[in-house]
Symmetry: C2
Subunit: 203 residues, 2 copies
DNA sequence: ATGGTAACCTAGTGTTTGCTAGGTTAGTGA
DNA sequence: TCACTAACCTAGCAAACACTAGGTTACCAT
């Protein structure tokens, strides 16, 4: 065991947030003790309290970072919306982007869902920052396509909900099956769902 | 304060389970203390331990009852499947039945989701007893309609997933909005989603 | 009426929790 | 090189936790 390395405040703080994100996403706010947290960070408990006033504020910092970050996902989504792809290719791209993100960030959905269930003040942050804007953008895009006569005259709000629910179901299945489905059959499942969704909104 | 009423074991046990179901669905397993539990039941803590070996077994009993019960929902779903309604009416009926159930049992989804997230042994019980059979039945029904030429040749497994995800999204929105949406707009939202789903699977 | 007992209680147990007082060490600038 | 301080530690607090030993009371059969 080599002597412990001392880190500057900002780096240590980030290390704590990273480790805590893992733990909180696995077991929720109440399921993680500050002792575990400290051990996972490789430091002692008082160090946590030099960066965060209490456990709740540490949790809040994590939720905030989670909701504010994921720049790669946001960027790719924005790119998809900015592109002039036709509806089918556009929907495929969006679905693929989100599912790929969820595969690479298995913590994400758990963290968000835990915070919502546990009723944390900042639980709606992700909803307001990601889901709602996405929902709005998707609605507008679909409405535009309907106006252009590219899609049939369905309710764009309902369509956006179906799409989000469809993608979300992907996570629920993972939650129950424990990621036991192979990547290939997963890809097929997504394609099947997108296929039905597209048929549902096109003439 | 009138003298406390003594209940026979089976009635007291059921009273405990009922009260505990409420609390656990609101805050999850770790979010509820045995003291709260006892208070909510109107008894002292040792009474809990005369009916259940420990907190986990009480929780297990609740999950078991939740997964095994809801006979009204199961019966109505079975009736819908047994009926010879055409696909559109059938899908409308199923969606309406489930949504109506979720409105009357706001605890249900939370309890199931909490147990899944917290990784309880019996978490898959509901999935195995309700979701999976329903998924299978829906798949078979859709496949039959596809074979009869009533529906287009889509992937029935994917279709079932889209349907479940769509319904599930209804709960997620409630989770975030806190049941602030009025019943009428809710009904409209469901109808819009069912509409898209139906268009997605019909020719 | 009254004994027997199922149903319930008070008053704790040891353990774990979030959090802290007060001391120690590693790294840096002069 | 050495003093200063940011970064870290050990040790332990009070409160809350799941759970229990041992005594009390309401109810029912006789």
């Amino acid at each position: 065991m080599q002597p412990r390395k001392k880190l500057p405040a900002n780096e240590r703080r980030q290390a704590i947030v990273t480790a805590a994100t893992h733990l909180f996403s696995e077991r929720g706010f109440r399921g993680v003790t500050t002792r575990e947290l400290a051990k996972a960070c490789g430091v002692s408990e008082p160090v946590l309290y030099e960066h965060f006033a209490d456990k709740r504020q540490l949790y809040a910092a994590i939720l905030e970072q989670t909701a504010a970050s994921n720049p790669s996902l946001t960027r790719r989504i924005d790119e998809a919306f900015a592109s002039n792809l036709e509806a089918p290719q556009f929907i495929h791209l969006i679905a693929d982007t989100i599912v790929r993100f969820l595969d690479k960030n298995p913590n994400y959905s758990r963290l968000v869902l835990f915070s919502a269930l546990e009723g944390h003040d900042l639980a709606q942050l992700n909803f307001e920052h990601h889901m709602k804007p996405f929902h709005t953008m998707l609605m507008k895009r679909l409405q535009a396509d309907i106006d252009r006569g590219k899609l049939r005259a369905c309710d764009p709000a309902a369509a956006a909900r179906v799409f989000l629910g469809m993608i979300n179901q992907y996570f629920i299945y993972d939650l129950h099956f424990g990621f036991s489905i192979s990547k290939t059959s997963r890809k097929k499942a997504i394609e099947g769902m997108v296929d039905i969704f597209l048929h549902g909104i096109t003439k």
